[in-house]
Subunit: 129 residues, 2 copies
């Protein structure tokens, strides 16, 4: 049994992945990976996922140039969730042009945007995202 076999992929062959900034500890994004994506992440040292909306392997940064260097992978007690501890190239993980996808906080009964857009998405992506 290899380390890949120890990961419990769900019925769709996916495992949730939390991408966390290795220095600040901030959670930058959440996505899913299939077996191939996890294997490529370990092999290449950059974060690979499976995009459920586009139904394909996703090398994060392939469109935006914002690759994620993976310094460590962690797995949880049940073996069904991963963390990628990353260094985010460009400092932008979110397709909205923000550092983190978690840019809204709950305050007084509503979700409030707390983070600035660092770069206009139209300047990041050649085509609509």
């Amino acid at each position: 049994m290899t380390w890949l076999d120890e990961i419990k992929f769900d019925s769709a062959g996916l495992v949730p992945v939390i991408a966390q900034d290795k220095t600040s500890g901030r959670v930058l994004m959440f996505a899913y990976a299939n077996r191939e994506a996890v294997a490529l992440t370990a092999e290449k040292g950059t974060a690979h996922y499976w995009t459920r909306s586009r139904q394909k392997l996703w090398h994060k940064g392939e469109e935006s140039g914002h690759f994620q260097r993976v310094h460590e992978m962690r797995i949880d007690c049940d073996g069904d969730v991963l963390i990628y501890l990353i260094e985010q190239e460009g400092g932008i993980a979110c397709h909205t042009g923000r550092e983190s996808c978690f840019y809204r906080a709950f305050k007084d009964g509503e979700w409030v945007v707390t983070d600035p857009v660092l770069k206009d998405p139209s300047a990041i992506y050649a085509k609509p995202h």
Copy 2:
């Protein structure tokens, strides 16, 4: 539309939740919540989830005493993932008696345990977990 309506629950009525230590930034666990669990978390200020294995509402700490005080809730760009920024009572989030469920790291082709057991699970739980 209320803040709860803005959360996109999946076909099972669940949303993934990342529980993160508000001070250290460490990701302590990953679980799911239904609408009622999120509402109770906001109302009571302690983390509530939905346990898929037991198929019921789960007030974290109800068995172990290790409640999680929620200082902030965040939501991602797609509205389908939450973060609970918490203070972990007892300093133990994992049912194995460790601080975090993510106690194994990938090293040289295998998952290596990096974290100590802080308390014997049999001393935490009255009945087998």
